[in-house]
Amino acid sequence: MILRCMKHDSKHKIVGSSVPRVDAFDKVSGRAKYAADYNAKGQLYGMVCYASHPHAKILNIDTGKAAKLPGVRAVLTHEDIPGEKSFGSVIPHQMALCSDKVRYSGDVVAIVAAESIEVAEQAIELIDVDYRQLDVVSDPKVALKDGAILIHDENNLCAYHKVRRGNIDEGFEKSDVILERDYSTSKIEHSYIEPEAVLAEPGENGGITITGSVQNLYSIRRAVARVLGLSLNRVRIIQATLGGSFGGKDETMSALCCRAGLLALATGKPVKMVNTREMSMRESYKRHSYQIHYKVGSTKCGILQAIESEIYADAGAYAAMSPFVTWRSAVHATGPYSIPNVKTDVYAAYTNNCYTGAMRGFGSPQICFAIESLIDELAEELNLDPLELRLKNILKDNSITATGQGLKHKVSLKEVLDNVTEKMGFVDKWKQNREQKRDTAFKRGIGISCSYRGISLGAEGTDAAGVIISIQTDGSVILSTGLIEMGQGAATTISMIVSEKLGITPDRIRFLSADTSRSPDSGPTVASRTTFMAGNAALRGCHELLERIKPVAAELLRCPEQDLLFENNSVYAPNKTSEGDRKIPFSELADKCFQKGISLFAHGWYKSPPTTWNEENGQGDAYFTYVYGANLAEVEVDCITGNVRVLKFISSHDPGQIVNLSGALGQVYGGVIMGIGYAMLENYAESEGNPLVANFDEYLLPTACDIPEIETTLIHNPDELGPLGAKSLGEPACEIAAPAIANAVFNATGMRIRHLPLTLERVKLGKELVRIDSRGSVKARGG
């Protein structure tokens, strides 16, 4: 737990230092209100009736018995939906309540509102649904074959993206060594510790107010308005304190909000719906499992010539964010390397598995695992060490990416790689480890990985955000934005940026939770875009306010505006005023402005720099800027059992400019450990569309005992586009942990594991054992 080489940038007063989180007091005292902590007088309890099969035609839904149960106030099916029956940001086909068929085991066919949860649960048992079972499609590659059973009306291709650069055939012709490898990754549950919850209350004007555990309020509002048949201004979504999300509380919450909203409007009563963990696991979307085929060509001395890849993502039953997730995979498929010849094809296919969508990394953790494993495999083939091969090929200043984008900022890849390898003496240690005796029971290994990552949405779509800054007459400040705090620390970082500019201490700044009726639609809180987008918007708002209040301050201090300094809740002009160092409290200035009729309210709006994308060849300036990171993992493998202990991580990232130092470190720690879970433990396993895990007894997360020592080095490399130079960190921290571990296991054992997670069986035997129905049968999967 050591931090190295973080110099506090003296250019800033507060940005770059560690500031206690602005929402921490409420959270440590138990006072923070999460969605399930909200109640309304006379509330009813909502419950859902899940599909009995992962794929089936609905023949009839009989709600008669359920409706007659005492205490039941409404039983609704798709027939009771006043608006559209489906929603979806990209493809609006996700069913709020299923009508013709069910497509995965988390689909919902009916909902109940009752006076107690017990009655609601009982009513669900009384709903009779007749199904005609359909064949189940559970493999995305099979789903794309001709004649495959269709999940939706058209073919099962959910999304396809390609990248073409140079001439792939010529690239392989120039190569001395060509390697082809297959990798796969498992499906991952976000595992926010707070299960989803909402309280829907019928509002005025026939509208609805929903307080919930929501990540992306505006997409959820669009879904609710569409399904309830209401205009956007009559649907109000309020964010409760959010108990983690990691990309996960979007479409899942759209569905839950639609259902609670339907019940609230049908009964005229507030309706509370709280998912159990089992419901959350069954229904909520996951991080995609990928099947990845790579072919890489290199010269003898390790100059990469060509990378061809074919990548299949399991989209599950609905599109959700799959088209965007797989686009990011396509852009990043060749890793942080200069490759003259590229051919990338990424497919997302519908299946009857749990649907998949956004999760921390958004299409990158899968790619990073595969490409960073591949590079190590190629190094082995070329008799080079993994660091040497990387250094020969990594992106540098002015490099051209696989999508033809020239990198005009300072590319810090070499620096982050040096940071994780130098102190440990990577190459020597890596070579020593390979000399370990064959019969040693406990073997050590080290491995590295690196990545580049396009920040924010890129060419996915419009990228803009707003922050409202409202100075009060006592000099305190209220901030409001459509981007949200979900534990990642946005409330604190945005407050710090405002604090930096207005000279107001963070304790005098109140960051409001988002409310669709009161905060500007700023797009989703995703893609590590919040610090960048809201930060820039906040800077504009601050600028606007300063333009208005500076003349008043200058007049009070009898000095030119350019001499003013805003600091520590006051304004002064050091050594420049006729009155020496007189400081005017910010409260006095604010009040003075108010008296003069000057607006103390500003709305800063920021639109990202342009990006370009050509669908035909997959070329373009995909993202306006990139961040860089590298990991080193050290493991100890118990060769008797296959048990892997992760002993140490060295993590180096380039977030541009740190805003909150302790928050930034927290992102790295949390990201690394989530990556360890990805590498070692987590797998949302399904069989023929039926989930095999239901709760945290079978879906294993890392505990406090599973964490290694983590050493972090953050690079100071301000980006001219970022607010005060800041870029992003949350996702990069998470995406490169798994390949570093897999590479370290190889270094220890000589066994290459190409499939996640690295279970006891895979590490011991090199293959996974799968339990097929009852005991007695053995089948190996993967190698």
């Binding site: 949860i117 017990e118 649960e121 009982q122 159990t276 089992e278 029971a441 008797i640 059992t641 296959g642 048990n643 202990r645 070692m680 433990l681 007894d697 294993l700 890392p702 505990t703 406090a704 005992c705 599973d706 279970t759 006891l760 069986e761 011991k764 035997l765 054992l769 799968v770 339990r771 097929i772 005991r775 007695g776 049968s777 053995v778 089948k779 190996a780």
Partner: protein, 287 residues
């Protein structure tokens, strides 16, 4: 289904009162509740008999035996000096159950009557030839632990019987080892547990060996054939390697060749070897 249905709840203050309830009707005894409450979540209505106030949390020692009250929590056993002196493997096993919160609530009696193939404390208790004291209105009955569990999650305990205590035989040995294998580094459902107690004489020959395993056989069991094989043998690495192989033969003989066997074969062999090696060095291994 998450609904718990409790149609009766009794909180007897004496064993007499408790066994009277058990004789009268079908009650589910509840102590710590860490297993029982999970079962209740399936929505089956139950009558509960709280056995927390029967003073069954004693650990006592006499010349030959240790008696452990059925309601002793894992936390209590993990730090009990009598346990660590006379039946150390029980204390180590108890300390590896679940999380701190589970160990604070869960009881050794619960671990036994739940009769899971991967129960952590049962293999350790088997080393000490544990016997169970079962009480009912019909009187007191002693059952051998190695005969108590008939198949996974099934025991010979009658519904009118209450598990009162566990009697372990003191068997001072020269070395012990308890190995627990799980998928992560803590809070694991055991993938395999190995308990070993070895008695070695001054000439480095095995006087006695007690070996048991969890998650290897349908119910946690001693490996008597393996113990017999080791008795009288001079200690050398090859011996322990052979012991590992023999353990695998026993596993396949009793459990059949199952989906997990390709993994468990080499791992059981390796862990038996490791546990014997550790026990032969006289240490109580805690890894």
């Amino acid at each position: 289904m998450t609904m718990i249905r409790v149609t009766a709840y009794e909180n007897p203050k004496s064993i007499e009162e408790a066994t009277t309830f058990l004789a009268k009707d079908t009650y589910v005894p509840i102590a710590g509740g860490t297993d029982v409450i999970l079962e209740l979540r399936n929505g089956m209505p139950v009558k509960l008999l709280d056995i927390n106030n029967l003073k069954l949390n004693h650990v006592t020692s006499n010349k030959d035996n240790i008696e452990i009250g059925a309601a002793c929590t894992h936390t209590q056993l993990a730090s009990n000096p009598i346990v660590s002196q006379f039946v150390p493997l029980v204390g180590i096993a108890a300390g590896k159950v679940g999380s701190k919160q589970i160990r604070n609530r869960g009881t050794i009696g619960g671990n036994i009557v739940n009769a899971s193939p991967c129960a952590d404390t049962i293999p350790a208790l088997l080393i000490y030839d544990a016997e169970l004291v079962l009480l009912s209105k019909k009187g007191r009955r002693i059952a051998r632990l190695d005969e108590f569990i008939t198949s996974p999650y099934a025991t010979i305990k009658r519904n009118d019987e209450l598990l009162h205590s566990i009697i372990c035989k003191k068997n001072n040995k020269t070395g012990y080892s308890y190995l627990k294998l799980g998928r992560r580094q803590a809070v694991n459902i055991s993938r395999m547990t190995i308990s070993v107690a070895l008695d070695i004489d001054d000439d480095n020959a095995v006087i006695d060996a007690c070996i048991s395993a969890g998650s290897v056989f349908p119910v946690p069991s001693r490996m008597k054939d393996l113990e017999k094989f080791l008795r009288g043998e001079k200690i050398k690495p090859k011996l322990f390697k052979e012991a590992g192989k023999l353990a695998v033969d026993l596993m396949i003989k009793h459990s059949g060749y199952r989906w997990s066997t390709p993994y468990k074969e080499p791992v059981l062999a390796g862990l038996i070897e490791r546990a014997l090696m550790q026990a032969s060095k006289g240490i109580v291994q805690d890894n």
